[in-house]
Amino acid sequence: MAISKEHEIHSRRLGRNLGLGLVLVGFVALVFGLTVVKVSNLDPGVVASEVKN
């Protein structure tokens, strides 16, 4: 039988899960942003030596 009664604890858990979800999405976006910045700001000298190797 499915639990149909809504309890305060369910909304609190929903809040916690949504919060964690947003934190994780934010973290992914930040890592993506950092990657873009790091890749676009590579030192040309380093890139040239990497290509030679």
Binding site: R13, L30, V36, V37
Partner: protein, 310 residues
């Protein structure tokens, strides 16, 4: 079988309780001072790298706060100021707080190393270690000088911000460190003077408990005198300038006057007016730090328009 609950879900933690573990109010000071350290540095930082650096410095500071709440749950339960924190309130177990603190510490240090550099990450790791182990586990319950040495943990953020931008430790970042380091004892001892019952009930050896209130008042004055040359010295470095010097001069004179007032007061007079001077000094100490770092930021902004600095 009845439908009675077998566990106490009334006390189950919400998202906000995990945020409370990170000591958001302390974190706001960390964010501000680290941001100033990063912005006044002579090396420009990409906004996303800067944002990530400040975020992970703040998370690292928050993680050390969670570790502090894990270890100090027993005394937090006794003190009125802290007994509603998530661990003593029974919303989060001490073990969960520990795991949360350790996990966030690791994430913050590794991410700061990737976003900025290894020096900044190393300083952050040392700060977390210093606050969680040296201060919380060792000094806090052992010596009345706990505030003096433990204050170093709160003094590192601007140095980390500076290191994130420049990759180095210089006289400027050392003086920003010293400014917070020397400011911490008068700030906390003023608080201890009017929150007297809390610390003695918890058995924390605050100076007020071990050496008495007369000695504490003298110590506040001594550290305020030591603080003034640090604050003014910072103004003579490359990040200082006339605006900062003027602001620092006014604030230090005011702070010194407050410390002298506190030193000269009899305990009976303080009790009679409800610790008015001590409370005013404590409140001003918050503005003192905020305005010093604010003045550094103003100086950096003026410099970018070619009018600030020496």
């Amino acid at each position: 079988m009845t439908d009675t609950s077998v566990f106490d879900h009334q006390n189950e933690a919400g998202f906000g309780d995990y945020i409370a573990l990170l000591k958001p109010r302390v974190m706001s000071l960390v964010v501000f001072t680290a941001l100033v350290g990063l912005l006044v540095a002579p090396v420009p930082v990409h906004p996303i790298v800067g944002f990530a650096s400040i975020l992970f410095i703040a998370i690292g500071a928050g993680a050390s706060g969670a570790l502090n709440m894990w270890y100090d749950a027993d005394i937090d339960r006794i003190m009125v100021r802290t007994n509603s924190r998530p661990v003593p309130a029974g919303k989060i177990t001490a073990g969960e707080a520990f795991a949360f603190g350790i996990a966030l510490s690791g994430i913050a240090v590794v991410m700061l190393a990737l976003a900025a550099n290894f020096l900044a990450a190393g300083l952050l790791a040392f700060t977390i270690f210093f606050y969680a182990v040296v201060y919380t586990m060792w000094l806090k319950r052992w010596t009345p000088q706990n505030i003096v040495i433990g204050g170093a943990a709160g003094a590192f953020p601007p140095m980390i911000g500076w290191a994130a931008a420049t990759g180095s430790i210089t006289i400027e970042s050392c003086l920003m460190f010293l400014l917070i380091f020397a400011w911490t004892p008068p700030h906390f001892w003023a608080l201890a003077l009017f929150m007297k019952e809390d610390y003695s009930n918890a058995g924390v050896p605050m100076l007020t408990v071990t050496h008495g209130r007369r000695v504490t008042r003298k110590h506040i004055l001594v550290y305020t005198i030591l603080l003034a040359p640090v604050a003014l010295g910072l103004g003579m470095t490359s990040i200082g300038g006339p605006f900062y010097m003027f602001a620092a001069l006014i604030m230090n004179l005011w702070f010194l006057k407050g410390a002298m007032d506190i030193q000269g007061r009899e305990e009976s007079a303080a009790q009679a007016d409800g610790y008015k001077a001590e409370k005013a000094f404590f409140r001003f100490s918050l503005y003192y730090l905020f305005l010093h770092f604010g003045a550094l930021l103003v100086e950096a902004t003026l410099r970018s328009y070619g009018v600030g600095g020496w």
